[in-house]
């Protein structure tokens, strides 16, 4: 009888994913046994689950190398992965806080939304710690399938259905690109392990006589660009973000985008660092296109969710600037930016949930007319989030952009930084437009349907802290991001 080698299982390296999945399944079971008016408790339970998972993420920080790898080196929970896991947990925590009120308003009180968000988060975490193309793909699929359902969660709403179907069809298509790229890369290098691919390239070179690898890398780039919504692969974003339930839009723009970058960075920065010169040029074009397309089309949007969808495309472009720079500052900048972007974007969406009415009504920019005179505090908060999105000091948005653009200059991409700053200036127009409506127009409505519940307040306060504290004293978070990428 031949011997069967049982792979060493290191549960510590997949602890966060395990905890989150178990809790998600427990919630799924619980969901069918509780009454519909008790569904909000599922939300609180999932919040507890996220906190527990967060603790396990924090305890894994700086763990010894032997504790980090598992499953024959296809999972690596290093500081890089842990930082991203922190981002994902923050975004799902903030999202779940604003979900319950939205579900009540839309009379769509199905408890499945919480397990789905948790499973999507588990998928993102697996994607961040995957060091095998297959693990990354597996994480991406767990994330995507949950998101397809979440996008169409408001099933009485036609636009939500459209969003779900569109996201599913285009997402499946892009997954095909990614998988095809992975298959070609595997064919060219003989391994799906990122480390082995890196070794192969270091030994055999890349472009010369190996077009299969080039095509494979390109196709993988297309797949990841779709997931982070980079132009010209951004077409799905506006429709899906507009149609999806508002909390889910907030979630999608923060967590999965960061997950896309985690996979993107892992593959390109760690597998093919020797060829930076080749893909940097491509990323340069991708970054410029993404920033410009996002910002220019956002100028003419009237629906605020659609506007923030284009703005999220633009923000992916800013992050790509750091990616194109390809140095340590750029990578740390992406980590910092993704975290603070989660705070400011979900914060802004929390206000949109408050202002909106049943059936996703009241989500035009003009509906915010006179908001400041009726709800001055909420208006100030919204203004802070919008200022941060526009990149004004003293908010985290400014520090993040400053860091990304200075990384580009350090790598010699002066023009890229200039285009980035110009784009940032363009974006101020559409963020300010919301503020003009809030502060300078006479109110058309009383905003009397608006009810502020404690979970939303907590979400907004946390987001405010996440926007203002790193904006004033960025040192701690920045050094955390730097330590995350130094391995």
């Amino acid at each position: 009888m031949e011997t069967f080698a049982i792979p060493a299982i290191n549960v510590a390296a997949i602890m966060p994913e395990t905890i989150l999945s178990v809790i998600a399944m427990a919630l799924l079971l619980l969901n069918v046994f509780v009454k519909s008016e008790q569904k909000a408790y599922l939300g609180y339970l999932s919040l507890i689950g996220i906190v527990v998972t967060f603790v396990s993420v924090v305890t894994g920080w700086n763990a010894p190398a032997s504790m980090q790898t598992a499953f024959n080196g296809s999972v690596l929970q290093d500081n890089f992965a842990l930082f991203f896991k922190g981002i994902f947990l923050v975004s799902s925590f903030l999202t779940i806080l604003i979900t319950d009120q939205y579900l009540q308003r839309e009379e769509c009180n199905h408890g499945e939304i919480y397990p789905l968000i948790l499973l999507a988060t588990a998928g993102m975490m697996l994607m961040a710690s995957g060091t095998d193309l297959m693990t990354i793909f597996l994480g991406l699929e767990v994330l995507s399938v949950s998101l397809y359902v979440l996008a169409g969660f408001n099933r009485e709403n036609l636009k939500s259905n459209e969003a779900g179907l569109k996201y599913f069809l285009l997402g499946a298509f892009s997954t095909g690109f990614l998988l095809y790229g992975m298959a070609l890369t595997y064919g060219a290098t003989g391994s799906t392990k990122i480390a082995a691919i890196a070794t192969f390239i270091a030994q055999n070179g890349y472009v010369t006589g190996n077009p299969m690898l080039v095509v494979g890398m390109l196709l993988m780039g297309v797949g990841f660009s779709f997931k982070v919504a980079a132009a010209p692969f951004h077409m799905w974003t506006p429709d899906v973000y507009e149609g999806a339930p508002t909390p889910i839009t907030a979630f999608m723009s923060a967590g999965p985008k960061a997950a896309g970058f985690a996979g993107f960075l892992r593959v390109f920065l760690f597998a093919v660092p020797a060829l930076k010169a080749d893909w940097s040029a491509l990323l340069w074009i991708l970054a410029v296109l993404t920033m410009s397309v996002g910002n220019i089309i956002a100028l003419s949007q009237d629906n605020i969710k659609r506007m923030l969808a284009y703005s999220s495309i633009a923000h992916a472009g800013y992050a790509l600037v750091g990616f194109a720079a390809g140095n340590a500052e750029g990578t740390a900048g992406i980590l910092f930016y993704m975290l603070t972007y989660a705070f400011m974007n979900i914060g802004a969406f929390a206000i949109i949930v408050l202002v909106g009415k049943k059936g996703e009504a009241n989500s035009n920019v003009s509906d915010y007319a006179g908001f400041a005179s009726k709800h001055p505090v909420l208006a100030v908060v919204m203004a802070i989030f919008l200022f941060s999105l526009a990149g004004m000091p003293p908010t985290a948005g400014f520090i993040g952009k400053f860091y990304l653009f200075s990384a580009a200059i350090k790598s010699g991409y002066v023009w890229l930084a200039i285009i980035g700053v110009l784009n940032s200036a363009v974006s101020v127009y559409y963020y300010l437009r919301v503020m003009v409506f809030m502060y300078m127009k006479a109110p058309e409505e009383e905003f009397d349907w608006l009810k502020v519940t404690p979970p939303i307040v907590v979400s907004i306060l946390l987001s405010l802290a996440g926007v203002l504290i790193p904006g004033v004293i960025p040192g701690y978070l920045l050094s955390l991001a730097q330590r995350a990428i130094s391995m």
Binding site: M1, F4, I6, M25, L28, L29, N31, V32, F33
Partner: protein, 118 residues
């Protein structure tokens, strides 16, 4: 290296030839005496009723989806049961986790009433 795959290629070629050969041979040699009954679309031996282009209840899709899920579960159990002794405790625990996950889905589906037709 590619030579190792030659038997597979041969198998594919033989399979194609076998299928095509049977069709061509029966088309050339077989007697053809068509009648109205013989040309009618085959529907489990019954007389065909109505058009085939009808809307189906979504329940069929639900059942089909669940069938695939639990079918795959059963498919995974076969190789496991063959290697059961070799895999030992490790295999048992892994399979337990796998079945537990599917069990959660089963209970969920059951309580949601997706198994009831009406």
């Amino acid at each position: 290296m590619l030579g190792a795959y030659l038997p597979i290629l041969l198998l594919v070629v033989i399979a194609i030839c076998f299928g095509l050969g049977a069709m061509v041979f029966s088309a050339l040699v077989g007697p053809k005496k068509p009648s109205a009954l013989k040309l009618a679309p085959y529907e489990c031996g019954c007389e065909p009723v109505g058009s085939a282009r009808e809307r189906f209840s979504v329940k069929f899709y639900l059942i089909a989806m669940m069938f695939i899920l639990f079918d795959i579960e059963a498919v995974f159990m076969y190789p496991w049961s063959i290697l059961f002794k070799k895999l030992g405790m490790f295999g048992l625990v892994e399979m337990g986790v796998f079945i537990a996950i599917l069990l959660v889905g089963y209970i969920y589906v059951w309580k949601k009433g997706a198994l009831e037709w009406e």
